[in-house]
């Protein structure tokens, strides 16, 4: 091959090298935004770190001896290929297996890749300069291809690669491109390399690793998410409000919100039957039902079993949640298409704000809020909220409140009971065993005392019958009421109770 042809190949390698360099930067930024949020911060800090590292690399390139330039170039290509190519998979694994060191790993990886990439271009320029290229022409050509490569990737990455291949595979693909440059340098410049065979073998080894990674990337990602959730992830979505992850393992469908289990399809019927039927079974006249929370449509499925119910209003904040549960086939099978039922109206609004701003009155209200694990959520278990609730409850209507566990979190459970009573409501506590959660508690609230549990149900149920219902309202000696204070917004005792309760459970 002629010398001028070789030089052209070197210039072409600048194009590939530049593409790969920008690609790793974009992949790291996208991954960090995806896992940590705040994309402006992530992109800015990663670009900053990367550019700085490139400067460091350029600076270091002067210490490479003239006779070793070509060998070093090949070695650096291989290092970049490994670091950059495996970056996305490695970062994902670190996030899944040890969340704490994620940022450190992220910036270390970005810095190392940047420093390597920063050495590439000066080395290529020195190679060309050694070959007696005119300096002005050399600089112009190298920078032109450098810039073109960057442009190509900045368009290709968001439009084609990220959506088609995903982050892990895109990174591996660019790693493979780096290996290709190394291999092809080994071949073309065989005579000029100090240790051609060693470099050749090294390149093949890296090719094997990255090629294997590329084939196994899906498996790798699944394995990582499995580490986070224990099961196969069939849907993952970050909405403006929360992160929804749906997993499946041997027919068990599970929903996690921000990493907390919401239900398992194995036993959710226990939770939802216990939540809905003690109220609706006792209200044969119920026409209008309100569900607060419950965007999965599972409580709604139970409510819609009653033919006399004419309208169900379901208020859930997140349109992504209600959207997912009215589209996805396995979820529709689970909730019986309840969210698409013409008798049901979905309102995507903050439940507390909706209660404040509307005046409708309901025969039954089902409150399925998240546990009072923070000051913000604790406000949903307060006298003002329960008073608001009671204004929406028909005179002879019943409300039921998901109230944490009377067994695992007795202070919280009985504090919610005391809070409902402080709001002037008559309460009837009960509980049910849900294997995924343990012993779980609910409280029925009414304007007047005198609630009696249903003796029988007219709708088909899997868990509840006369005897199971009777047991729910019986509190054995190890679940007797605790004397605790109601939740006051000024000090939010409930949030402290909740912390105290669970710190004693989780050892």
């Amino acid at each position: 091959m002629k010398a001028c042809m070789r030089d052209r190949l070197l210039i072409l390698s600048v194009f590939v090298v530049a593409s790969c360099g920008l690609a790793y930067e974009l992949i790291a930024g996208a991954l960090a935004s995806y896992l940590l949020g705040d994309s402006v911060l992530q992109f800015s800090s990663i670009i900053g770190c990367y550019l700085f590292a490139m400067g460091v690399g350029s600076h270091l390139s002067q210490y490479v001896k003239d006779e070793r330039v070509l060998d070093t170039f090949v070695e650096i290509e291989l290092l970049v290929a490994l670091l950059g190519g495996l970056s996305a998979s490695a970062l994902f694994a670190v996030f899944a297996w040890s969340g704490e060191s994620f940022r450190l790993t992220l910036y270390a990886l970005v810095f190392l890749t940047g420093a390597m990439v920063g050495m590439e271009i000066p080395l290529v320029m020195r190679l060309l300069h050694q070959r007696e290229q005119r300096f002005a022409e050399l600089v112009s050509r190298v920078l032109t291809f450098d810039y073109l490569g960057a442009l190509a990737v900045s368009l290709l990455f968001p439009i084609v690669l990220a959506p088609r291949l995903g982050l892990a595979r895109s990174a591996l693909l660019f790693g493979l491109s780096n290996v290709a440059v190394a291999l092809w340098t080994c071949r073309v410049f065989r005579a000029e390399l100090l240790r051609p065979t060693v470099q050749y073998l090294r390149s093949l080894l890296v090719l094997l690793v990255l090629g294997g990674g590329f084939i196994a990337a899906d498996e790798l990602t699944r394995w990582n998410e499995k580490a986070i959730y224990g099961d196969d992830v069939i849907h993952a979505e970050t909405t403006p409000y929360q992160r929804l992850v749906l997993t499946r393992w041997k027919g068990d469908l599970r929903l996690y919100i921000n990493g907390n289990l919401q239900f398992s399809s194995r036993d959710e019927h226990r939770y939802h039957e216990a939540l809905v039927h003690p109220v609706l079974g006792a209200l044969p006249w119920a026409r209008r039902v309100l569900i607060l929370g419950g965007g999965d449509g599972l409580a709604a499925r139970e409510v819609l079993k009653y033919p006399q119910v004419q309208q169900v209003t379901l208020v859930d904040l997140d349109p992504a949640m209600t959207g997912l549960f009215s589209r996805s086939a396995p979820l529709l099978a689970l909730n019986g298409g309840s969210l698409r039922n013409p008798r049901l109206r979905v309102v995507n609004d903050d439940a507390a704000r909706w209660l404040e701003q509307h005046a409708e009155v309901f025969d039954a209200i089902i409150v399925d809020f998240p546990d009072p694990s923070s000051f913000a959520l604790g406000k949903l278990y307060s006298v003002p909220l329960y008073r608001l609730l009671s204004r929406h409850l028909a005179d002879n209507g019943l409300a039921v409140v998901q109230s944490t566990s009377p067994y695992h979190a007795p202070r919280s459970y009985w504090s919610i009971n005391a809070t409902l009573r402080a709001a002037g409501l008559a309460t009837t506590p009960y509980h049910a065993y849900v294997p995924s959660f343990g012993e779980w508690g609910f409280i029925i609230a009414a304007h007047r005392p005198g609630y009696t549990p249903p003796q029988a149900y007219r709708v088909p149920l899997k868990f509840l019958d006369r005897e199971a219902t009777r047991q729910m309202f019986f509190f054995p000696p190890d679940m007797q009421p605790w004397r605790v204070e109601p939740n006051q917004l000024n000090d939010q005792r409930l949030v402290h109770y909740f912390e105290q309760d669970w710190s004693q459970v989780i050892r």
């Binding site: 900053g48 550019l51 704000r353 006051q488 917004l489």
Partner: protein
Amino acid sequence: MQRRDFLRTAAALAGLPLLAGCQQLLGWGLPVDVLRPGMAAGHRLRDAATLPPPRSERRVDTVIVGSGVAGLFAGWRLAREGYRDFVLLNGPEPDGNAAAGAFDGWRYPTGAHYLPLPSPESAHVRTLLAEMGVIEAGSDSLRPTFDERVLVHAPDERLWRDGQWQDGLLPRGLGAADDAQQQRFLLHVKQLQLQHGADGRRVFTVPTALASQDPAWRALDRQSFASWLAAHGYTAPGLLWYLDYCCRDDYGSTLAHTSAWAGLHYFAARGGHAANAEDGAVLTWPDGLNPLLRHMRGRIGPDKQLDGAAWRIRQHGKQVQVDYIDATGAQRLIARRVIVATPLHVAWHLLPQLPALGFERAHLPPRAPWLVGNVLLARFPAEPASQPLAWDNVVYGSRSLGYVVATHQLIRAALPERTVFTTYHAFADAPPAATRPWLAAASADALFEQATADLYAVYGPRLRRHMLAARLTVRAHAMASPQPGFLANPGLAALRTADGPILFAHADLSGLSLFEEAAWWGDVAAQRVLAA
């Protein structure tokens, strides 16, 4: 390299300040409004231009001049007692220091933002709160039940020190000596809460008018709080910072310029309790105290509230003329009685007869300038899970007063989609006369920098990315500062007892700017009108 230039431009477009020290860039693209309520009208009055003859003349039994807390409370009391023949002149600064604003429905205070639990002595305030439904039961008892939506929700306060938040405002971890002095001081003021004078009255009460007149205790007013603290062995830096913060927060003055009586009053006068909250809880609304004023305006009725700025108040025999300017020109009200519910430095220019009533220019209380910043945020900044955002957030060692969160009292299943942070700064470190020219001339950027100093100290420049708009309220004569000797001000004593055709109602009469004091003097003036 070109690629680097490209990326640098991209970073700049993304809002990342790459160069340190480019403070003026922070205001880029952020709409900043500056409000100086009452300034133009006040300075016109001070510069004493002549007024054209009045276009109209209207007779009314009583005129209330000014619509801050004192004026509205007087009007509310009159209306509540069924007295109908009065009007209230809004003035150029409606709602006074309890004013509020809104960014597209997100309400915020531009002045006072909380009310301590009213003690039994503040029966007048309790009556108002009970009428509003804020006191639900036991208005006359030691521990009334309050509407929990209004009782400040937990977490209420936190302090930023050494890059971390701690619970409460008293700095902790500054050493055993500091902790011990803090405990001793708290115990000391707890005893003073129960302290009675020789006349059998509590030494420190709100309203101050009901406090003991025992000269042995009132002698505290002759020294500064700083010297009293030194004399009692309170020297720990953490405690002194906290007490200085409290004086700037309530009085706009430093320890050295605050009367020892007033400094102790801040801690010892607050004896309110609630059946459903801890002692020391406060009442607050998204827009500060403004809902109280809106309620009083509702009771007074819109037909009795006139827009317009008073220009001159003159007594002619048994009648009082109130000349004012509104949108159409000069107008005149002729009344049997007038309640002057303006700050006294405004009354000084309105009332040529003030010296005849025993009030000289030298009796004007010194007034502290304030800057209130309201920043609309597109979302909440990140907070540590262990110390979530509190209602009141203060920076240790800062000369500003921290920030409160307007959406704190909302009950929501998720964080509200927006919020407003309200920052406070009292200019206590320089003489007010030196600060005012700067406040009048300062650019929006300079004021913004001052108003957001604490926010930037806590969140860094990245908070700028959450900001959608800012509104800065300059109150150059915000509040009376109780300097040593303020209790013995003979001019104030004269105006407090004035019961002729011209009555006075303002927190200035107490020498302290508190809602309860303003309301007290409004109530006293209204009772005098009703009595005659």
